[in-house]
Structures are given as structure tokens and as C-alpha cells.
Amino acid sequence: MNSLRTPRPLTTLIVNECSNPNMCGIAGIHAYHYAALPVAQAELRVMRDHMQLRGPDGKGEWFSIDGRIGLGHRRLAIIDLLERAAQPMHSADGQLVVSFNGEIYNYRQLRQQLIAKGYEFRTESDTEVLLHLYADKGTAMLADLRGMFAFALWDARKQATLLARDPYGIKPLYYADDGWTCRFASQVKALLASSKVSRTPEPAGIAGFYLFGSVPEPFTLYQEIRAVPAGAYLWITATGAGQPQHYFDQGRVWANAAQVSLPPAAEIPAFVSAALHDTVASHLVADVPVGAFLSAGIDSGALVGLMRDAGQQQIRTATLGFREYQGTAADEVPLAAEVARHYGVEHRVRMIDEAEFQQDLPAILAAMDQPSIDGINSWFVSKAAHEAGLKVAVSGVGGDELFGGYPSFRELPRWVRRLWLPAAIPGLGVVTEQLHAAFAPLFSGVNPKAGGMLRYGGSYAGAWLLKRGLFMPKDLPALLGEELAAAGLHRLQPLRHINNSLRSLGGNRFPHATIATLESSLYLRNQLLRDTDWASMAHSLEVRTPLVDSVLLQTLAPLLLRVRGNQKHLLAASPAKALPSVVADRAKTGFTTPVAHWQQRGAVAQHWQQIPLLRTENCPWARRWATVVRDAG
């Protein structure tokens, strides 16, 4: 078993400038119940303006005449803030009103199709495409959208509000229905800015945070606040928020992939390359200055190459560096510089030290919308991009989940294969876990999760929990107390929660598909994408993710379905000018930064030192850090 966690690489962020982003925050209140008081305009403004950093350049609001619904919007202007494209935006007949956060990358094609059908456009914005596309197809429109989005759309004819979120959940959207009034916003903390939203804790969210290191959706730390699930929509009608309906499911994509015929083996590299070129091109707007945040990894390097191929001429790259690592194998700066030279881009290095970390820490914790043990790296990445004057960024996040870059793709099938039989013996797993708990403290260097191997390692859900888990269920009483831990585990049902993401795979349990679905539906969604959102938004930076794309997944899933192990070589070879072999052939190492050490020192130590479980010598840093961010949340 590898170490519990390695911090997310700092270096897979690519930045550019483009013309029409909607890097925003949305908020709304729907007083749907007949007994509810009309929407208080001041309350909506407080929620909306709590998200000022998400959209510092503009704000908008709309209230229905009867006062039953209000929509708010904060907007970031990249080049122009055209009044006619301001939000919330309504249809010409006033029957539809939308507040939208995100990017629809194929909006131009959709716009042309709608014009051909007779729809008239007043603006060039993708927001207006949403209005017409909804008018044309209703919720079936969601399957046509390629991009990252979260929006609220009021349909006056239906007297209902539609809340929808992109397939992977790149853009966040939360709602709080108190039984009379439903409030929604891009951030949990924006909802909490309303004094009307209950702060009653959600044990499932708290337990989930300690088990996974991030709060598993749809739960939050608060009982009343829920996430609109990724790839889903829901209606708020006169009966309140309805059950979320899924229009996209990664497991189903993998399940359907088994029916698709494959290209000849010789054509596979070209096929993959074409799919990657397509997604990168679709995420970019040409003829604008481009920058890249570059690491020694394959994802960001290959993306720079693909951006070159997509026609980006001026690419500026930046890399985070740490003095502590200078001259050591852990220093990524030299390899990143070599990639920059390889693709002929302008390169910068931004040095980070502990003093800056400690100085930024209060702001980091304030910006962290929900507690996460990751995200520090995303913070400094975004900060560097912001300092460079950039407002839009492209990230290589998602490459490991798609191409099998994580050790979990190698290890989980092995664990399941070897452990399913002993794990099936009733009681054996529990006994070994208890023996481990009794004797492990006598030995140094014993992984604190090793005792769970027989209990959890025999199934993919259990093995994933073992691999990715921050704490194990048995640890929760020591952290939360018996009662809260029991309530949290009962409400969350961790293994069932993990298994739910695999349900639509059906009988198709190819290892790569299974682990890709687990990593994308849980780790990527609840941690990486969420951290990317709050950390970048705090710096008024939009991040785009070409490797987290439903079209790309649908294209590559038939190819990747039956593979075993790391397929990153396909990504490395995809640019016309392939990545340098020193990067492409570099074994994936546990990416480390000194941040892990900084996170345990200074004033934060008082949080974890109070808990005996965390004072043991071999306690992983992330476990200690979890108590710090949880207290801040």
C-alpha cells in the first residue's frame, strides 16, 4: 500500500485569455410554498455578494412580479461587460430567465442550429443559447451541452425553476430547501450568508469528510444544504425541490463502450490524438495570448503541445518552485523548463516559501467553501496566474482518472483478486482489524490502514476506500465521538455510497472502467474539481479542464475499457511534437511539496495535538491537516 496521500501536483494548470467567459457566481431564492413569505431582496443580495470574488466586475438580479422568485448573478468581465449580455438574462417574451455560471464550449454550433430553426439572438453570449435551447428541447437540452456549467432557469409557463449541473460537476451548485423556500447558490458559504438557512450539522457530511478527505456530494456539512449532483438536474415546483434526475452517468458511458467496435490497433494512437486535439481545441479560443502553468508531468506538458497544435502561437508558462527542493530529485522546475524549451514557450518560475503559506493561511481557510485536505496547491497556482494578470486558465486535471495514471489502477485489481476469498470469511476482517488496532502501536512504520485489508480489500468499493480513505470507519469515534460517528456512518453508508457510483456499470466490471469511474465520481468530483473551483475563484480566475470532458470520455471509453495499467503514454504521444522522452518515460512518483510539512507546523498544530490518534509518530500529515480545515469550516 502506498502512503496515504500525496498532495496534488501544483503544476497542471495552463492559462489563457479568451473572449467570453462566465466565470461567475449564481444565487437564487424560490419561495414556492403558499405559506412562504415573498423573496426578501436584501437576503438575495447578501447571498450573491458573498461571492464577490467569483465575479468582481458585475452584478445582476431579477425578481418576479409576484415576488416568489429572485435570481442573482455576479460576473467577471474578461474583455467587455456588455449590458445586453448581463445576467440574469431573460427570453424575449420574458417567460424564461436564467442565471448561469460556466462555459458552453459548443455554443457556437448550437447557436447556428437554433438560428436555422428560426430562433433570433440578441447577443453573442452562450447564456442566450441556453435560453433558446431550453425553449426548443426542455431538459433534453442538457445532453447537447459540452462544457462546465451550473445554472438556474425560471420557466414562467411551468411555474418552476430548473437547477442543472455539468456532467462531471466541474461547476458547483448547492440548494437548501426548508420546506417552504428553496435557496440555491454556487457556494455553501453563500447560502450560509443567509440567516434563513439552517446550520444543523449533517453527520453524513462530517463523517464523509474524515473518511474521504472531502465532503461527498450530495452531502455538505449542513443537513439542509445539498449539492445538485454532477450530471443531474432538478425542478423546484410548488411542491418544492424534486428528486435530482441524472442525464449523464459515467458508469453508463463505460457500460455502453463495451458495445462499440474498436479501430485497428495501428490506428489507436492517431485516434486518441484526434480526440485529445478535439477536446483541447474546443476548450480554447484562438488568436489570444496563452499561458501555461507547467510541471514535469505528462498532463500539463502534453496539453501545451496540444495547444500549440490547436493554433496557439504565444504560450507563456509558469512553474511553482520550492527552495527546499532545489537540487533534489523532487524539484520539478528543471524538467518543466525543458518542456517549455521543447515547445518554445515563454517560461516563468514562481517561488513559494513557508512564510507565504503561513501568511496566506487565513485567507485560504476563509475561501475554502467546504473543508478539503487538498487545495493548497490549487490556491498558489491560481495566485500565480492571477498575479500574471490572467483571468482564464486551462488545467490538466482529470488525466490520471481517464488514462489510469494513479497507482490505484494497478493496485486495486490485485487486492481484489487476492483478497476476495479471505474477505468473504465472516468475521475475519473485523478480527484482523482489531488485532491491528491492538498491536500496530507497538511497531513504528505500520500503515494505519493496513488492518483493514481483509475487511475492505476484497471488493472494489472497499479497496478504493482503503486506498483513498483518509481515516477508516473505525477511527471516527476517536475523532467525532461515538454518537456522531455512528449517525454519520449510518446516514452515509460509506461502502454503499462508493458502490452507488458503480451501479450503472452493471455487469461490466472491467478494472480500468471500474477504477476510472470510482476516481472520477468520487476523488475528482468531490475533491480536485471542488478545490480547483474555490481556489481559482478566490483569485478571480476561471479554470478550464479539457481532460474532464464528457465527449472525450465517450470517444475514448471503448479504447480504454479493457486496458490495464497506466495509459499516459497515449497522452504523451498525442501532440504533433511528442513530449520529450525524459518527461514521457518518467515513472510517476508520489508528487511531494514542502507544503505537507508546513501544514503541520505553526499555529495549526494546536488543532491536531489535542487528539491522541493524531499524535502517533507515523500519523500521515493529511490526517492532521484534516482537523485544521474541519475546524475552519
Binding site: 403558499y34 426548508d178 420546506g179 444543523t200 443537513q223 445539498r226 428528486q243
Partner: protein
């Protein structure tokens, strides 16, 4: 409503031939669902009350009163088997939900559970929790009850809705009853009123705190009279408190008041006050407000709903006697509204929402085969 008209089985504590808030609620519910186009019939089994004919919608069939548990169980089971089919089982009380769930399993029906208040606030035993997790729709009378239910019930919040109590048409502003004035000695006095049971198990109603507030209030309002309507085993404790605080001239226990007399009693009062911390909803607040008198209520339970978060009355921290006195004083000084602010809690709104929820309750998956079971 689906194309095939809905057949429902209602398991209730009481509905017809019975008094009290829950019976009224169930009658409202039955009338609302029966009025829907998509409803074919509703079979009702009650624990209490009696079979009546007047005022019962034609689609409602009273299949008997099962006064004992076994009798109720037998009647409900037989009804579920004899009906041509059952689409939805309405379970009018939390304690009946295991039976409703078992019958639903057999008949392929969906279960709609109704929560009235305090019974749903605390985490119950395993059987009830097991059954609750198998319910398709839950309605609570207030947001507070919904919130507390969701703290222990592993249900999705989207399946738990709020369907509030209504206020009956006879609760309207009107002239003072000279008879009642004489009987209760209210002529020439400013009157505070509380209507509730005086149960030792329900001390959360807050009579004692009103009495304590009265000790201070009488200095400003020497003619103040506090009428306590209702009977129960907590009365001696309250009477002792009145005696201890020497408030005998200012407090009067008027005993049980029949439903028919309630509108006139409310009109007699200047302020209705009940700083309770245990109301599922508090229908008395609606009744009082509907007769046009200001209302003072607790701010931490279902009382917030009839008072619409303070827009329709005075909310107060129930443990703060000084605050209670201050809010009573403010309510005494306030002008009475010309029109009562309780219109939203009319039966028309209730019925429209109940019918929408009925469609929702019947929209879930049917048994494993997707087929409804024919009887």
C-alpha cells in the same frame, strides 16, 4: 395524476366523528384528495371517532373503526386485499408506518406518511426507522417538524414536504359575546388567553412563563387578566405558581372549552399567548389570528409557521420571561388588523398542494415488476 384514477387507502388515528387538530387535518386531507379529478376512491380505516354520513365526500368510504390495535390491523389488511387495487397508502401517524409499509409491500402501493409534530422529533426505535426508510413521500405540518424528522430519518430531503394545518371557516373576527364576558369576568379588563391541554407531560407549552411574565406586566397593566383554557394534570402546579406570585386576581382557569365556543372565546381576548417550545404546528395560533387578535408564540418550534416567521405575530425566545412580557406588552399596544393574516392557510391552498403531492406520491416505481398488483 396518472391516467388510471387513483385508489387510496388511508390509515388514520381519527377523522370523522372526532374532535381535535389531527382529525380536522385528516378531514381536510380526505376532502382535498377526494376533490381531485384523478381520484377514484379513498378507503378510510380509523382508530378513533365514528362512522358518519354528513359532510363526507362521496369518494370517501369509511371501512370501519379499529379501536384496538389488532382490530385496526385486521381491518386495514382486509381492506388492502379487498380493494380492486391500492395505489397509495396514506399513513396518518408515524406509529402506523410499519403496518403501512408491510401492506404496501403486499399490494404494490406507495406509502405517504403524515407527520403532525412532536412524535416525529426524536429518533424512534429500529422498526419505525426501518419502515420510514421505505416510504415514498412524507408530509410534515411544519418546517420545524420536517427538519427534526430529517435529522434522524434516512430519507432524501426531496421526499419530505410541508403540508400545513388549515383554519376552519368559523374562526373570524366578530362581536364580543356578552355571555362569555360575564362568565369569565372580562368586562373592562385587558385579556390574555392560552388554549391548550394542561398536561404535566406538556409543560413546554409555557403557561408558567406567561404567569411569571404577568408578575411584571401587572405593574404596567393593573387590569390585566390571563385566561387559561383547558384541563389537565399540570393545573395544580400552575395554580400553585399563581398563588405563590400572588396573581389570583389576574389569572383564571376556565377549564375545558367546547370547540363550538372557541371562536367567541378568542374574540374575548386582546392577545393570544403561548410561548411553547414543543408545537408541531400550533393550530391554536391560526385560530386566534383568524379571529383577529394578536398572537405571541415561541420562536424555536413549529409555531414559526402559523406566525410566518414573525410576519403574522410576535415571536419570542421561550425561556426569556422578560422578552415574553415585552412582546405581550407590544401586542397589547398594537392595533388589531382589520383583516386576519391567515388567508394563506385556507383549505383551498391546502387542497391544491395536497392534490399535487398525491400525484407525486403515485409517481414512484411500482413493485419490482413495474406492475401494480391487482386485488
Amino acid at each position: 395524476m396518472p391516467a388510471e384514477r387513483m385508489i387510496m387507502l388511508a390509515l388514520v388515528t381519527d377523522a370523522y366523528g372526532a374532535g381535535g387538530g389531527i382529525a380536522q387535518y385528516n378531514r381536510d386531507w380526505l376532502a382535498a384528495i377526494a376533490s381531485a379529478e384523478g381520484c377514484e376512491q379513498i378507503a378510510v380505516i380509523a382508530r378513533h371517532g365514528r362512522i358518519v354520513t354528513n359532510g363526507v365526500p362521496s369518494k370517501v368510504h369509511q371501512l370501519g373503526i379499529g379501536k384496538g390495535r389488532l382490530s385496526f390491523l385486521m381491518r386495514a389488511t382486509v381492506a388492502s386485499l379487498r380493494l380492486p387495487r391500492v395505489d397509495v397508502i396514506f399513513c396518518g401517524h408515524l406509529f402506523m408506518v410499519p403496518l403501512a409499509v408491510v401492506l404496501a409491500r403486499v399490494s404494490g402501493a406507495q406509502v405517504w406518511l403524515q407527520l403532525h409534530g412532536i412524535e416525529a422529533w426524536e429518533r424512534p426505535g429500529f422498526l419505525l426507522r426501518w419502515a420510514v426508510e421505505r416510504v415514498q413521500l412524507v408530509t410534515a405540518v411544519s418546517r420545524h417538524t420536517r427538519r427534526l424528522f430529517l435529522q434522524w430519518a434516512r430519507c432524501t430531503p426531496e421526499s419530505v414536504k410541508v403540508l400545513p394545518n388549515t383554519v376552519a371557516g368559523e374562526f373570524t373576527p366578530g362581536p364580543l359575546s356578552a355571555d362569555l364576558q360575564t362568565r369569565h369576568g372580562t368586562a373592562g379588563r385587558r385579556v390574555l388567553l392560552t388554549v391548550s391541554r394542561l398536561a404535566a407531560s406538556e409543560q413546554y407549552k409555557g403557561h408558567d412563563r406567561v404567569i411569571q411574565a404577568l408578575a411584571a406586566l401587572r405593574l404596567q397593566e393593573p387590569d390585566l387578566l390571563y385566561l387559561i383554557a383547558g384541563e389537565g394534570d399540570d393545573k395544580p402546579r400552575l395554580a400553585a405558581l399563581v398563588h405563590k406570585l400572588q396573581l389570583g386576581e389576574h389569572v383564571r382557569f376556565i377549564g375545558y372549552v367546547p370547540d363550538a365556543e372557541l371562536p367567541a372565546l378568542y374574540r374575548l381576548a386582546d392577545v393570544f399567548v403561548m410561548p411553547s417550545s414543543g408545537e408541531g404546528f400550533g393550530i391554536v395560533f391560526l385560530q386566534a389570528a383568524a379571529t383577529g387578535i394578536p398572537v405571541v408564540a415561541g420562536d424555536s418550534d413549529g409555531s414559526r409557521d402559523p406566525l410566518r416567521d414573525g410576519a403574522a405575530g410576535y415571536l419570542v425566545a421561550t425561556s426569556d420571561t422578560q422578552a415574553i412580557a415585552a412582546q405581550i406588552s407590544a401586542a397589547l399596544k398594537a392595533d388589531r388588523p382589520a383583516v386576519a393574516d391567515t388567508g394563506v392557510f385556507c383549505t383551498k391552498n391546502f387542497a391544491a398542494l395536497a392534490v399535487s403531492l398525491a400525484a407525486l406520491s403515485d409517481s414512484g416505481p411500482k413493485k419490482a415488476t413495474g406492475e401494480k398488483v391487482k386485488g
